[in-house]
């Protein structure tokens, strides 16, 4: 029996800010102070508040420490764990009010969240099957195998209204039913953990924080559709997730929760892991299956759909990690309780990876129908440094942006589609007035050009030509008719590409052109970048009235483009200037340098 549990985040975010060393130091100190038998250290998955990591929670007090450093450990051990005095200076400031300490669930970041898919992340030790079982793990599987027919399981999933969380939003129950109805000697279940959107990391967090729920859920799916084998396709860049999933599969096999005759029901299920090399196109379901088969990851035309002819030519159900993470809760608590959350056509919750220009970057799970304003201003804590919200990009390189005037849109699949966006896997990148929308569109297109597999011409050639046009615009060499051509080509690529990658690649361009046409026109007609981002369209300028001749800018300039004597006026030679901004940073006090 331990009197205190210390939970330290072992997600990728906190690990990269040194949580491993924190755990080792903590364990050493506990041994040194003779507390090792009283206090248990637990490495958990992601808490979601990555911006203030590494994160540590000490129970029973529930003290939430943020930005913990290795040097803070002796103080935490000596003061808190030995003497019971909470180290107030390390507490997450949102939990501290004048004289009381609020529970974490009361803070703005967590208050509006509803954690279904992430329920165990940051709560349990992901490498302990016992802790997963303690919080009702594998109960849903037991319920299915011992009390429900496969068709009944599918009916529950259908009734819940769950839709695919990977981006498309196809009803999950229907997908399962298609596979179940196809007759075959062998069927497969595939979990898509090839999370490729820049900025999205919810699937990684689920695998890192709660790997057993994916094992359980895929087994349930196997039972429902009649498959006896499953594959998890996860990218090799997620070593922690891969490792924890391997541990989970091993533990489940030891307990007989994977393998032959599970729960004495006669149902067999086995699970394999396949590592992806990180190609974006492999997140597309047919390309993913081709890759599992050992071939080059290229999509194939649909139909036939995977439910008829999928992995190794056999009927296959493929869902992404977050979709699977919802299944055990739906089975345990019933379709109604899940359908009670969300909007009419989008049930349940959605996890978003909040990033960009926002205070609380991290992972949030909210009921469908929450407005973007609530996410940005309340949960996200607003835009830092006094800047103004301009737009939010959803769906990464496949999605579009939601501009300021639509900030009160309730977020669900259909509302996003209606405004030319896409739910995508749930990356949510917040942009403020320092972001140039043309540059953003160019950034995402640059990504898709790199990631296009090259199989079909519209995507391979079309996206490349679009990128060239955007380059012209950001360099100020485009004409107005280029904008028309760009739009025409974007619509063509969208219509004619083979798979989802090409069909959605033009979305960032189309959506920024729709909502921020004025910025495009400013680049083309006035040859100006309103946000001051596109280097070719801006010049640095020293205001003669403000310059005090301190020489700081001239010394900071890496290419000697600034001329001037001490105490005399300095002038930038715009021909030599490479527009790095070093002079502007150097002139912080006097603020004589500006972008024009």
């Amino acid at each position: 029996m331990y009197r205190s549990h210390v939970l330290v985040c072992g997600g990728t975010g906190c690990t990269s800010s040194n949580s491993e060393e924190i755990i080792t130091t903590l364990e050493e100190q506990l041994v040194e102070k003779g507390l090792a038998d009283e206090i248990k250290v637990i490495r958990t998955g992601c808490f979601g508040l990555c911006a203030i990591g590494p994160i540590m929670i000490v129970y029973p007090e529930g003290s939430f420490y943020s930005e913990v450093k290795v040097d803070d450990i002796p103080e935490i051990v000596e003061e808190h764990l030995l003497k019971g005095r909470i180290v107030k200076r390390l507490l997450y400031d949102e939990t501290v009010e004048t004289d009381t300490i609020k529970s974490l669930n009361e803070t703005a970041f967590y208050k509006k969240q509803k954690r279904v898919a992430l329920r165990n992340c940051g709560v349990i030790n992901p490498e302990s099957i016992e802790e997963y079982i303690a919080l009702d793990g594998y109960q849903a599987l037991a319920k299915c195998l011992t009390g429900l027919k496969p068709a009944e399981v599918i009916q529950i999933v259908k009734d819940s209204g769950l839709r695919g969380r990977g981006g498309g939003g196809f009803p999950t129950g229907l997908k399962w039913e298609f596979t179940a109805k196809t007759e075959a000697d062998q069927k497969y279940v595939v979990c898509n953990a090839d999370e490729g959107d820049p900025g999205a990391f919810m699937d990684r967090s689920v695998l890192e924080g709660d790997p057993h729920c994916i094992v359980e859920s895929m087994t349930i799916c196997g039972y429902a559709v009649g498959a006896t084998e499953g594959y998890v396709y996860v990218r090799a860049e997620y070593p922690i997730a891969v490792n924890r999933l391997e541990v989970a599969i091993k533990q489940a096999k030891e307990q007989g929760l994977l393998g032959k005759n599970i729960f004495g029901s006669g149902f067999d299920f086995d699970l394999h892991i396949r590592l992806g090399a990180g190609a974006f196109v492999c997140g597309e379901e047919t390309a993913l299956m081709t890759s599992i088969e050992g071939n080059r990851g290229e999509p194939r035309p649909r139909p036939p759909y995977p439910a008829v002819k999928g992995l190794f030519g056999k009927p296959t159900t493929e869902n992404n990690v977050e979709t699977f993470a919802n299944i055990p809760q739906i089975i345990l608590h019933g379709a109604e309780s899940f359908a009670a959350m969300g909007t009419e056509k989008s049930k349940g919750t959605k996890v978003f990876a909040l990033g960009g220009n926002i205070k609380n970057t991290g992972l949030v799970e909210i009921p469908m129908g929450t407005t973007l304003r609530e996410i940005v201003e309340e949960i996200g804590g607003g835009i830092p440094n006094g800047h103004k919200f301009k737009a939010a990009q959803t769906g990464g390189p496949s999605g579009g942006c939601i501009p300021n005037h639509l900030i009160d849109t309730p977020i669900d699949y259909d509302n996003l589609t209606a405004i030319g966006c896409m739910m995508g896997s749930g990356g949510l990148i917040v942009m403020d007035d320092t972001n140039c929308m043309v540059d953003i569109a160019r950034f995402f297109l640059d990504f898709t050009v790199d990631e296009s597999c090259g199989k079909c011409a519209p995507c391979r050639i079309g996206t490349k030509r679009m990128l060239e046009m955007l380059d012209k615009i950001t360099h100020g060499t485009a004409e107005l008719e280029d904008l028309e051509k760009l739009e025409e080509l974007a619509l063509y690529v969208k219509e004619n590409s083979l798979c989802g990658l090409g069909q959605t690649a033009p979305n960032p361009v189309l959506s920024t052109m729709k909502f921020f046409k004025d910025e495009y026109i400013a680049h083309v007609v006035d040859k100006k970048c309103p946000a001051g981002v596109c280097k070719a369209l801006l010049n640095y300028y020293i205001d003669p009235k403000k310059c005090i001749g301190c020489t700081l800018c001239a010394r900071a300039c890496p290419v000697d483009a600034i001329a001037g004597v001490p105490k005399g006026l300095h002038v930038i030679d715009t021909k030599k200037c490479i527009k790095c901004g070093a002079c502007m940073d150097a002139c912080k006090k006097v603020k004589a340098v500006s972008k024009v």
Binding site: R3, L7, G62, K83, A134, Q255, G256, G264
Partner: protein
């Protein structure tokens, strides 16, 4: 695994080790004063005694925790028992030997051991 009973057995066993992490207001909190004064007066064996006794009796609704100096250093080691909607009970000059009685009489059978409380001594 062949039956739900096996699964439930693992669940109950694992759950008992995780009560400390619950935000449960119904638990009884046993708080041992562990500032320098408390430690010097022998609070550590008292704390260990409570933990062993609670574990031995498998009392799931009790959280043993520690706190700083309560302010009555001459009465250390001090132990407080805090229960929802009840008045806080403060035991003073606790020893490891007294722990078993507090656990059985107070925590299990709900009879405060009056003679160990601050009220009895301060009279």
């Amino acid at each position: 695994m062949k039956t739900i009973e096996e699964l439930n057995a693992i669940r109950e066993k694992a759950k008992a080790t995780m009560t400390v992490r619950e935000d449960n207001v119904d638990v009884i909190r046993v708080v041992v004063g562990m500032a320098t004064c408390g430690i010097a007066a022998g609070a550590r064996p008292v704390l260990n005694g409570f933990m062993e006794e609670v574990a031995r009796r498998k009392l799931g609704n009790i959280v043993v925790s520690q706190t700083g100096c309560i302010g009555m250093c001459q009465y250390e080691p001090i132990v407080e028992v805090i229960e929802k909607d009840k008045e806080k009970v403060t035991y003073v000059r606790m020893t490891a030997d007294r722990v078993a009685r507090v656990v059985s009489d107070h925590l299990v059978n709900n009879n405060v051991v009056t003679e160990f409380t601050v009220g009895a001594i301060a009279k």
